[in-house]
Amino acid sequence: MAKKLIELRNVTKTYDGSAVVDNINLYINENEFITLLGPSGCGKTTTLRMIGGFEKPDSGEIILNGEIVNELPPYERPINTVFQRYALFPHLNVFDNIAFGLKNQKVPKEEIAERVETALKLVSLPNFAFRKVSNLSGGQQQRIAIARAIVNRPKILLLDEPLAALDLKLRQNMQYELKEMQRKLGITFIYVTHDQEEALTMSDTIVVMKDGVIQQIGTPTGIYNEPKNRFVARFIGESNIIEGIYVRQNLVSFMGVEFDCVDIGFEDGEKVDVVIRPEDLDLIDPKGAKLVGVVSSSIFKGVHFELCVMVQEKEFVIHTYENKPVGQTVGLRVDSYEIHLMKVDKE
C-alpha cells in the first residue's frame, strides 16, 4: 500500500488579511506524481512554497514522514525545487550549478563528478558540464535546473510551473520526459501548473484549487469525467453545463426533457447542474431526437469540428468529425453514462 510521505493539515496562509491558502487538507504518497492545478492566484504556488519551507503557514501543520516541519528551514528538508525561472546561478558553470547541493552535503569529489554526469545524462545533456549557464537556451536551462534538483536524490521534488516559459513542442516533450523521469527515479513529484492539459497528461493525482480552497482531489480521469462543481467542470476541459432537476433515481430532467442517468447521491426533485462534455454529444437525425437545435457556428479545429448548436436559447458546444453547415437543424443525443450530475454551487 502506498505510504503517506507528506501531509498538510488545516494549513492556512494569509497575506495582508486575505487568505491565500485557506484551511487546506492534503496528503501525498510516496512515488506519486501530484499536480496542484488552478488559475493564477489560487494559492497553488504558496502551497508549494510552504512545502519547500520558503513560507511558514499561519496555522495548521505540515507533516513530513510523521514529523511536523513547520519551522524547518528549506536547507534542512529532504526536498528540492525546480523554480519557475530556473534560478540557475549565473556565476557558476553547469557542473558547479548541479554540484552545488552535493558540495553542501560534503559529498566526496569523485562521487560528485559521477553523480553530476549521471544527472546530465538523465536530462539528455551529456558533455554540457563546462558550459556557461548564460549560453544555454531556455529548454536547456530547464533541464539543468531539473538535474540540479534530482542530483541530490530528494524525497520530494517540487516543480513550480517549470515548463511555462517553453514553447509548445518543447513543453510536450518535456511533459513525457518528466513523467518518465519520475517513474524511473521513484521520487514524489509535486507539480504546480495552471495548464490543465499538462496536469491531465502527467499526474497520478490532480488537486484542483481556487481562491486558496481545494475544489477536488482525484485522478485525471476521475476529475475529467466526474467534476465536483461548475468551476472544476469549466476549468478542466470544455463542458456544457445545464441546470436540471433530479427527478428520481436514474432519471434527470433538463431542457424540458427527461433523460436516463446513472449518477446517484441526490434527493428526488433536487436541483442539479448537468455536465455534458462536447465530445459526448452525438449528432443525429432531428426526427425523434430529444434535443433539437440549429447550428449557429462551425470551426475547424484540426482533428475535429467545433459546432455551436442553439437548443431553446441555450448554446451547446459539440466536437464532431463531420461538419454541418450553419443554419441546419440537427438532433442531439447523449448516452446516459455520459450525463454527469453535480450539486448546485451554493454561491
Binding site: P74, Y75, R85, F89, H91, F100, N104
Partner: protein, 285 residues
C-alpha cells in the same frame, strides 16, 4: 534617418574636448620631454631629465608608497564598513531605501575641503576632543595626527579618505545587491546551504562586480588626490598628489606633467579593469 543631423550636435562637445582635454594632454606629453621654466617655451630645451628622475628619485618612490599604503588602508576600511551597510540596506524592508542611501551621500554636498579642515581641527592636539581625552587619562590614543610611521601610514589621512569616499563604496555594492534575484538565494537554501553559506557561495560572488567598482572608485581618488593628504597629513608626508602639487608650485611643469601622466595611466588601467568585470557598466552611477 536624422542620425547625421543629430550627429552634428556632437560637434561642439568634440571641439570642447579637443581644446580642453586633448590639447592639454598633448602639451603634457611634450612637456615631459622638455626642460623648461614653467610654460616658458623660449628657454626650453629637449631633455630626458624628467623620465630619468621618475625612475631614480627616491621621493617619487616614497610618495608612491605612501599613497598606495594610505589609499589601500582607506579602501579596505571603506569595504569593511561599506559592504555591511549596502547589504543591510539592500535587504531591509524599508519602503524607501533610497532615502537611506541619500543620507550617506548628503555629507558630500558640503565642500570636502571644509569637511577635511574640520576633521583636521578635531584631530589636532589642541582640539576639544584631545582635551577631554587628556583629562580622562586617555591621551595615549592620540597619536593620530602628526605622528607617522615608517610605513607611511597616517591615521588622520586615512580617516579623512574614508569619510570622504565611503559613499563611492556603498553605492555600487548596493546596486548589485539590490539586483540579485531573490530566487537564487532560495535556490541556494533549497540545495542545502544555510544563510551563511548562501552568502559566501551566492550573494558575495554575485556582488563582486560592485565590490570591484567600489574598490576602484575609492582607491583611485584616494591614491591620486592631494587635498586630503595636504590638510590632514600636516605637510610632512609626501603623497603622489602632493608631490605633483609641489612640482607645479616650483614651476617644474615637466616633472609634474610626467607624474600626472603616470597617474592617468594607472586610472586608465583601473577603468579598463572595471569594464572588463562589469561590461554593461551597470554598477557605475
Amino acid at each position: 534617418m536624422n542620425i547625421k543631423k543629430l550627429g552634428r550636435l556632437v560637434v561642439p562637445y568634440l571641439i570642447w574636448m579637443c581644446v580642453l582635454v586633448g590639447l592639454p594632454l598633448i602639451i603634457m606629453v611634450v612637456l615631459t620631454f622638455l626642460k623648461s621654466n614653467a610654460l616658458d617655451l623660449s628657454t626650453a630645451e629637449f631633455s630626458f631629465d624628467s623620465w630619468r628622475l621618475l625612475f631614480s628619485d627616491l621621493t617619487v618612490r616614497t610618495a608612491l608608497k605612501n599613497s598606495v599604503v594610505n589609499a589601500g588602508i582607506a579602501t579596505i576600511i571603506c569595504f569593511i564598513i561599506g559592504y555591511p551597510v549596502a547589504y543591510i540596506v539592500a535587504n531591509s524592508n524599508f519602503s524607501n531605501k533610497l532615502i537611506i542611501l541619500v543620507l550617506t551621500v548628503i555629507p558630500m554636498w558640503s565642500n570636502s575641503l571644509l569637511r577635511n579642515n574640520a576633521i583636521a581641527n578635531l584631530l589636532s592636539e589642541r582640539s576639544i576632543v584631545n582635551d577631554v581625552l587628556n583629562n580622562i587619562g586617555l591621551s595615549f590614543i592620540w597619536p593620530i595626527r602628526g605622528v607617522f610611521y615608517d610605513s607611511g601610514f597616517s591615521p588622520a589621512v586615512v580617516i579623512g579618505l574614508v569619510l570622504t569616499y565611503l559613499p563611492f563604496m556603498i553605492l555600487p555594492i548596493y546596486t548589485v545587491l539590490e539586483k540579485i534575484d531573490k530566487s537564487l538565494l532560495e535556490a541556494s537554501m533549497d540545495l542545502g546551504a544555510n544563510k551563511v553559506k548562501t552568502f559566501f557561495r551566492v550573494t558575495f560572488p554575485l556582488s563582486i562586480k560592485g565590490v570591484t567598482t567600489g574598490i576602484i572608485m575609492v582607491f583611485l581618488p584616494s591614491f591620486s588626490g592631494f587635498a586630503i593628504p595636504k590638510i590632514l597629513g600636516s605637510g610632512n608626508l609626501v603623497f603622489i598628489g602632493t608631490l605633483i602639487d609641489s612640482r607645479f608650485m616650483n614651476r617644474n611643469y615637466n616633472f609634474g606633467s610626467l607624474l600626472s601622466l603616470v597617474i592617468l595611466l594607472i586610472i586608465f588601467g583601473s577603468m579598463a579593469l572595471i569594464f572588463k568585470v562589469d561590461k554593461e557598466g551597470e554598477t557605475l552611477i
